[in-house]
């Protein structure tokens, strides 16, 4: 297990590159880019090594650092959990980050941007934090790095701080996600308070569990009724399942924020203000995936709560459809991609909610590849177009920049979900899972699954449409502007990453061709095996994070069961056929509408819907109103109250005393006779008072 001893270096290398770039960047060639490339390259290599080790059946779950040593109270530690899931995520993150670093040479350095050290420092810090989040073995550590990636996102979105847009977008991104993280934090505190640990997977020594994980504890509490040690339940006065559902939903708040799910999705489109490589890395492939990854990471905790599952599925399905519709009418290429990203993460949530753990991870993987590809392709186009992102100013670029075109096409086919590109396999599996579990389960769960499935299915059509609308507008037809006629060229450092990802986008789907596997009976659903682990013993027994166990939990506890009216094969093929057909239909419609030398805008046909889509369902408006229209005025009122009433009382006391002082000194009239009078009066009063008390007269 030598790989695991070096595993921390995966996180630390990019952090070092962050320090190097920040403090030495402007004294280095390429402003610190090389440091970043070297670091991420190293991390990539180590990740591969780790992945291989995991493939060899080895897993690792240890504490490496004690953050707060609690005395007579919970101790808070950092630790690494390296199992198939995190190993896979490590690969994704390091790979994309590595490619993005290279791409940035073309996108930033060649464009003579200023502040490159800041840029590469940001990338380095982000990569480090993201990797830290991925390997985290407990909820608190995950939350901390979750926040750190948020910071990096803020810094990188706001990279061009001299303009007005980016800082505002950065603020919005951090604020909206922070709102989600607020619930996440409550969830973290709640989990630790409830179970006394935030561990995702139990830590074992020689087969003995030395530190139990909270999903397992929760499972025991719900399944075996072992609630003795959980004092929190009495405090809140809820049953275990209910309370765990509450906790799960609280954590979900952070997920919805980071993975840009409805209603906290509004920050992501604005985040496109950042440099395109950043969008590719952070806002498509990795950070946005953090939310989904978190749910997958602690899936055992959600799997025992049907309510949470239903919510996740519904949110996912709705977001998938909702975002896709908005993507239909956008004119900037990156906007289209942004909404498609939201939509795609909706699919992953749908999968997780509807018991498709593997499907979700699968789609997470493929999406990371092809969406990074699409963004980088868009980046290349943007370079060519001198940073003009409006697709209506493009056109006919495919001959000028073939590499970009074909890579982009591959990514688009994947996104649209066309056979045999990656997206097809994963998206199909997602929908399949939703369908069969919707058919198989009972009650509200089933209903919500079916509804979610329907929305997801409909979204497939829109996805196909907006994807190919984008492709045609950008690359096909006649160039519509001079820049499009004579685009700025791009160099190897742009083409290289595109090529790599282009190939991957076409092929990565093959890691889990479930339909083929079912048909041929050949065991080629590698990802399935990867996440399922060996039948008994091995890492699943140790970590209890295998999809097989999740399946049992879903079935036994949450009551998620599969129903296949047309038999397993039939149902499988049917669902595949439906989704593929819809995707093709969407693509076809786009083709008919936007093919040809000079396409025209058809969005007006949508009528009032167009305005609705264009304004993103007025989501931003109401959220901005909540901030500036409601909270800020309230704050003003409270300020008035503070100045007027609270402080007014304080000042009032002093003015009253001074006023009474003014009155009192008037007694001193200056006339000595009055003094004698008052003196006598005082004496007489005392005499009278005491005389009456003492009964002298």
């Amino acid at each position: 297990m030598a790989a695991f001893t070096y595993a921390p270096a995966i996180v630390l290398l990019p952090f070092v590159s962050f320090l190097v770039a920040l403090f030495l960047g402007d004294r280095m060639p390429k402003g610190g880019a090389l440091a970043g490339i070297a670091a991420t390259g190293g991390s990539l290599a180590l990740s591969i090594w780790v992945a291989l080790t995991v493939a060899g059946g080895g897993v690792y779950n240890e504490f490496v650092y004690t953050w707060v040593a609690g005395i007579e109270s919970v101790t808070l530690r950092f630790g690494l959990l390296l199992d198939p899931l995190s190993a896979l995520m490590l690969l994704i993150v390091t790979l994309i980050s590595f490619l993005v670093h290279i791409f940035s040479l073309g996108y930033m350095n060649d464009e003579d941007e200023t502040g490159l050290p800041r840029y590469y420092a940001g990338l380095g810090l982000f990569t480090a934090s993201m990797l830290g989040f991925v390997v985290a073995n407990n909820l608190l550590m995950a939350f901390m790095f979750f926040e750190l990636v948020g910071l990096c996102s803020y810094l990188l979105i706001g990279f061009w701080f001299r303009e007005d847009g980016p800082p505002s977008a950065a603020k919005k991104a951090f604020l909206v996600t922070r709102f989600g993280d607020y619930f996440f934090l409550i969830g973290v505190v709640g989990v630790v308070a409830t179970f006394g640990t935030g561990l995702f997977a139990p830590i074992t020594e020689g087969g003995e569990v030395v530190a139990q994980s909270f999903p397992v504890l929760a499972e025991h509490a719900v399944v075996d009724g072992e609630t003795a040690g959980i004092a929190m339940l009495d405090t809140v006065g809820l049953g275990p399942q209910a309370w765990f559902t509450v906790l799960g939903l609280l954590v979900l708040g952070g997920v919805i924020g980071k993975s840009a799910q409805f209603p906290l999705h509004t920050w992501l489109p604005d985040a496109m203000e950042g440099p395109t490589p950043v969008s590719a890395l952070i806002h498509a492939a990795t950070m946005v995936a953090a939310g989904v990854y978190l749910v997958a990471r602690m899936y055992g905790f959600y799997a025992i709560s049907p309510t949470a599952l239903a919510v996740i599925a519904l949110v996912g399905g709705f977001t998938a459809l909702f975002a896709a519709t908005m993507g239909l009418v956008k004119q900037e290429i990156k906007q289209v991609l942004a909404y498609s990203t939201i939509s795609q993460y909706g699919y992953m949530m749908l999968a997780l909610g509807s018991g498709g753990y593997i499907a979700a991870v699968f789609h997470l993987t493929t999406h990371a590849v092809f969406k990074a590809l699409l963004f980088l392709g868009a980046g290349s186009v943007i370079i060519a177009m001198h940073h003009n992102e409006n697709m209506w100013d493009m056109g006919g670029l495919k001959d000028k920049m073939p590499v970009t075109y074909y890579a982009f096409l591959s990514g688009s086919l994947a996104l649209a979900g066309i056979l045999p590109f990656a997206g097809f396999w994963s998206k199909d599996e997602v929908l399949y899972e939703a369908l069969i579990h919707g058919l198989g389960s009972e009650g509200g769960l089933a209903t919500s699954y079916i509804v979610a499935y329907a929305m997801g299915l409909l979204a497939v059509f829109f996805t196909g449409f907006y994807t190919f609308r984008m492709v045609f507008l950008t690359f096909h037809g006649e160039p519509r502007t001079d820049t499009a006629r004579d685009p700025h060229g791009v160099r190897w450092n742009v083409k290289g990453p595109l090529a790599v990802l282009g190939v991957l986008a076409a092929t990565v789907g093959f890691i889990n061709m479930k339909p083929v596997a079912e048909l041929t009976g050949a065991h080629i659903d590698f990802l399935h095996a990867w996440l399922e682990g060996p039948e008994e013993g091995g890492w699943p027994a140790a970590l209890v994070t295998d999809s097989h166990h999740y399946g049992e939990l879903l079935h036994d506890v949450a009551g998620v069961s599969a129903g296949e009216p047309l038999g397993s094969i039939g149902t499988l093929l049917a669902s595949a056929a439906v989704s593929l057909a819809l995707a093709v239909a969407g693509a076809g419609l786009a083709t008919t509408l936007y093919r040809g030398p000079d396409p025209v805008e058809h969005t007006d046909k949508l009528g009032s819907l167009k305005t609705l889509f264009m304004h993103n369902y007025y989501q931003d408006e109401y959220q901005v109103w909540l901030a500036t229209g409601l909270t800020y005025p309230l704050a003003r009122v409270m300020d008035k109250f503070d100045q007027g009433v609270v402080d007014g009382v304080v000042n009032g006391v002093s003015s009253v005393s001074l006023f009474s002082g003014q009155r009192i000194r008037r007694i001193q009239s200056g006339v000595v006779s009055n003094y004698a009078t008052l003196l006598t009066l005082g004496l007489v009063l005392l005499l009278a008072a005491f005389g009456i008390i003492g009964g002298w007269f």
């Binding site: 004690t66 953050w67 707060v68 040593a69 609690g70 005395i71 007579e72 109270s73 919970v74 608190l140 939350f143 901390m144 790095f145 926040e147 750190l148 910071l151 706001g158 701080f161 001299r162 303009e163 007005d164 980016p166 800082p167 505002s168 950065a170 603020k171 951090f174 604020l175 922070r178 709102f179 607020y182 934090l185 409550i186 505190v189 709640g190 630790v192 308070a193 004092a231 929190m232 405090t235 809140v236 006065g237 901030a627 909270t631 800020y632 309230l634 704050a635 003003r636 409270m638 300020d639 503070d642 609270v646 402080d647 304080v650 002093s654």
Partner: protein
Amino acid sequence: MVMVAALLAITLLGAGVVMLSPDRYAGKLAAAVSAVPALLSVYMYWAYLTQFEGTGNALLQPGDVAFGQQIPWIDFGGLTISYYVGLDGVSMPLLALTTILTTLAIVSAWTPIDERQSQFYGLMLFMETSLIGVFSALDFFLWFVFWEGVLIPMYFLIGVWGGPRRKYAAIKFFVYTNVASLVMFAGLFALVFSTDLTSLALPAMAEAFRSASGLPTVFGMNLLTLSFILMFFGFAVKVPVFPFHTWLPDAHVEAPTPVSVMLAGVLLKMGTYALLRFNFTMLPEVAQQLAVPLAIVGVVSVIYGAMLALAQRDLKRIVAYSSISSMGYVILGLVAFTPHGMGGATFQMIAHGLISGLMFMSVGVIYNVTHTRMVGDMSGLADKMPWTVGIFVSAAFGYMGLPLMAGFAAEFLIFQGAFDAATLGSAAPVLTAAAMFGIVIVAGYLLWAMQRTLFGAFNLETDYTVSEAPFHDVAPLAVLLLLVIVLGVNPDLSYEMIQNSILPVIDLGGGA
């Protein structure tokens, strides 16, 4: 051990020397003088970590107090007052915070303070003396001497070198906090005389109050409760807690920046420190009876302060109100009576001391350059002074509770400790969650302020060229930022000793 005496003597004599020194050298001289106690206290800190492993609470185990010294002083009509000092895990970090922050504040004053320097720096050192005394005194009257002694330099520092409304702010701070001290004194002494105390040493008091019985009923409530309330008021003004906070924004806004640094960084901690020492260590039962109302006070302060910060335009006012908010967390943590709750509250004193000091200092550095603190008067400063702005942004995120910075550690521990606090019962999760919402609001106003002032196209009408601040302005910021990060990455540097000294208090309450 005469360590504490040495600290007091050096700063006091230094104050005298600096006062008499010519203005030209006063700043450098003061920095040099204040460096001595700073280094000394760092050494003491190190010694504490290495030699006094697991030292208990100074009030509850006076036996193993560090750097202790006791000399009988005054016979006060049958009550013995003594020069009695000593440190434990609670006071040691606060002492180090005081000395370090004073040195940095003095350095940061070189630029803005341009008249009557010798008096200014002399008073700063005099204030340091009092603060050291407050955190190290273990005899009530000695402590009270220093507690009141802080007012005098503060009055002048605000009144002489402050902003336009400095006179109002100074006298308000002066009288308001003095009234608070008097009320607190009344509450405490009502108890002192109702027990058979012969000495005013804090440990003796703690002992006597806990075992006090058969106390009279005054104004319809047990004397213990009455005293607790009076003392709480006395300290709540200093903290400050809603609704006794209104002196703070004025004082902060009018005070010169180095003074604001001390005010937010250390003076507010006097209040929470005293709450912990007196109300929560001496009267734990009452504290637990009143836990829920007190927690509500804390939560209200958190939200109220944050909301008010949202309404401000003056950067200093923003930080001032957010200090109220952060201090609210401390109250919440204290009433929890759990290790992480009380420990986190104490740690928050350190963390907030560093971070708010850092915030005020960076605001001050920006002000030195731009001569305005108003959000909206300026924009795009990041263009002109990247390092200052970089540190400012880091400080702001530290204030928002960014992980791996001290603020997050403190706030998380408080939340963790309060969430299942037995003293709060089933209200605990709700109150904690409510308090947590502060982290959203704080992000709101700080991000908004940063966007308006630091980013966007540079715009500021000046008749000089705006450029990066001098090194001696930025250096203190860097040091503080470093400390914030170090404590955020490894809280146990302070938190371990804090816990060791807090646990006895919790055992009193029967909490945890």
